[in-house]
């Protein structure tokens, strides 16, 4: 069974997808994830998720899902004047 592996590199950071692996069940997947992805101090937390639990967008859906954004400039917050007193936005 295929598992997707997510690792959190430090506190306060989101888990990030690092790859996938084969394992007969979740516990072994956790062991394998440790051996394959965390032998060099990469993280402090591991998630393993069965790949089949993920619903992915199909390449054919590219247009309806992503293209409309290109033509609608008002969706990008580039029109707002930032007051000079406001820092770090």
């Amino acid at each position: 069974m295929l598992y997707e592996v997510f690792i959190r590199s430090q506190h306060g950071v989101a888990h990030k997808h690092v790859g996938s692996l084969h394992a007969p069940d979740a516990e072994i997947a956790m062991n394998n994830a440790r051996d394959i992805f965390t032998r060099r101090n990469e993280g402090i937390s591991i998630w393993v998720v069965p790949s089949e639990a993920i619903t992915a967008s199909a390449p054919g859906d590219k247009q309806p899902l992503f293209d409309p954004a290109q033509t609608k400039v008002y969706r990008h917050p580039g029109f707002f004047k930032v007051p000079p007193e406001v820092k770090n936005i």
């Binding site: 692996l21 084969h22 394992a23 007969p24 069940d25 516990e27 072994i28 062991n31 394998n32 440790r34 051996d35 394959i36 032998r39």
Partner: protein, 243 residues
């Protein structure tokens, strides 16, 4: 009390030989993930072997380095447990050998971690973190293979029957062992680990049987010779070779 040369040598040789056996799987693992995992465990044990053998060389006081001890001794001078020199067999065999060893190795290292010998305590404390993970891995596999298919269960029973007589040596102390640690005191924890894991795995714990000894005194099976021939080839063919 300061642990003698002979005691450090036993720990170093046992780690070294098991590491070499696990290394034989490299490129042959049943799946890529297991191939990596076995190589990782082998590397952990190799690292521990280097520390023990270096310490052994110091305690001996004849100027022998870890390399000289690893590569320039013959089978009769090795002091590893008979269990770890056993050939890999199938995966059930490899994991059973590993589980019997790990279940002993962890309590051993934890006990040595509070040794009054500072060098022994430092190496053991470092190694026990790795050993804890090794045990978790081999335990998980024993449960899955034992409580898996009819065939995996049968193969586990075959492996247990073959390796069980080699487990007694882990607790059989002579004067060398007794000067550093009470090996018999490790047995209850080992036994309860075996019993609870085998219960999960639907496997029977063998009743007491005849136990084979000799590895720690240098009396080995013929299998160690072929292992050493491969492991020591480079250093024997090109004496003093360095990477």
């Amino acid at each position: 009390m300061t642990a003698p040369f002979e005691f450090c040598l036993r720990l170093g040789d046992t780690d070294l030989i098991l590491s070499q056996r696990l290394g034989e799987w490299c490129g042959h693992g049943p799946v890529l993930e297991e191939d990596l995992a076995l190589a990782n465990v082998a590397l952990d044990l190799l690292g521990q072997a280097r520390l023990w053998l270096t310490l052994a060389g110091e305690r001996e006081g004849c100027g022998r380095s870890e390399d000289q001890l690893a590569y320039l001794r013959d089978a009769g001078a090795f002091r590893n447990l008979l269990l770890v020199e056993q050939p890999n067999g199938d995966y059930a065999h490899t994991m059973t050998r590993q589980f019997f060893f790990d279940a002993w190795h962890l309590p051993l290292l934890e006990t040595l971690g509070s040794s009054s010998d500072a060098a022994i305590a430092a190496i053991a404390a470092k190694a026990s973190r790795e050993a804890a993970y090794h045990l978790r891995r081999s335990r998980d596999w024993i449960i899955r293979l034992g409580d898996g298919t009819e065939e995996s269960h049968r193969r586990m029973e075959t492996a247990i029957a073959a390796l069980w007589p080699l487990t007694g040596e882990m607790f059989a102390a002579d004067a060398v062992d007794s000067s550093v640690i009470d090996l018999e005191a490790l047995r209850p924890r080992w036994q309860s680990e075996i019993e609870s894991t085998f219960a999960h795995a639907t496997l029977a714990v063998p009743s007491d049987a005849w136990m084979q000894h000799g590895g720690k005194q240098g009396v080995h099976t013929e299998k160690l010779g072929t292992l050493l021939a491969e492991m020591q080839f480079l250093q024997r063919a090109y004496p003093g070779a360095q990477w």
